[in-house]
Amino acid sequence: MSDATLNPSVPAGPNRDVPLAEAGFGDYVALLKPRVMSLVVFTALAGIVAAPGPLHPFIGFVALLCIAVGAGASGALNMWWDADIDRLMRRTRSRPVPAGRVEAGEALALGLALAGFAVMMLGLAANWAAAGLLAFTIFFYAVVYTMWLKRRTPQNIVIGGLAGALPPLVGWVAVTGSVAWAPLLMVLLIFLWTPPHFWALALFVRGDYGRARVPMMTEVRGDRATRDQILLYALLLIPASGALALSAAGGPVVLAASVGLTALFAVAAWRVWRRDAARSEADGWAAERRLFRLSLVYLFGHFAAVMAEAVLGTGWSAWGGA
């Protein structure tokens, strides 16, 4: 937003939460991290669509809305807690709280209010099992990841990634009221996808995390170890993706997507693994950027395939029943 240019460097200190410019409605929307929310909505929708059983479309819409609002609440709580380090990083310093447009206390209040709204509405509209899972997801992101792990361990995004992985399970449980293997495999897929996704990004924006003293893998263990870990998780994604393709949510469409996307992702991760920092710097981190972009396509492709399978009715259950 243009307001960021008014306060390019907000000094840290006891008065840092005093707003320097009045917030617009868009600033409050920005607190909800709409880009992260879009990923959550997409994967949760896959969970809802793939789940067996009838669900009124409006209830499905409300469930999806609640999951999205819950994700937004997590984002607002994250921005409240991380305002001090957000102002140190180029990527985040124009966010509403570090830029001084919204008070940190407002972000906290908005986060808590939206979290309460999302959990209560999901419980009333769908069921309390899904609402409990959503509450756990918000707690895990805001407290376990943001407050406990993020500044302490380079495994922060590995463990914290569980929060971002749970939405398809919440969506599935909102329809069925119970847990099953298929949504758990969706969770596993996102869980294993998160580290290579973030570490590919961290390889080419590492200065930012270093300034904020966030112990990202690239800062603490170095470039080589990060590349090793990226390859490890890319290889772990092969059986996870295959298992999802063979699960109740799978079918020929998911299997084809799984084979194609996993092969592309593994090759891209291998290319990143066999380089070193000097070589990457020489070509502007081309392979790392490619892996990062491909990781987005990888996740989108898998969950689009899961939804297509459910909509077309071509899942394995249809084959067995023929």
Partner: protein, 66 residues
């Protein structure tokens, strides 16, 4: 020099107020249609009366009534 009555700050506040209005209207619409869907999904209308846990004459079987 003309005095500007409308400041950028006012436009920003108006935008914020209209945004909040839209959110509140959306919430009312959401609750209304959720209620409609929930009530219509009940097969037996008497079950709807049972939601408030209050005894209703209409719910008492005719044979058992005095």
């Amino acid at each position: 020099m003309a005095i500007r009555v409308e400041h950028e700050l006012h436009a920003r506040r108006r935008g914020r107020n209209l945004g909040l209005l839209a959110v509140l209207v959306a919430f009312v619409v959401l609750v209304f249609f959720l209620t409609v869907v929930k009530v219509r999904s009940l097969d037996d209308p008497r079950a709807f009366q049972g939601f408030d846990h209050t005894v209703r004459p209409a719910m008492i079987p005719q044979d058992g009534g005095s």
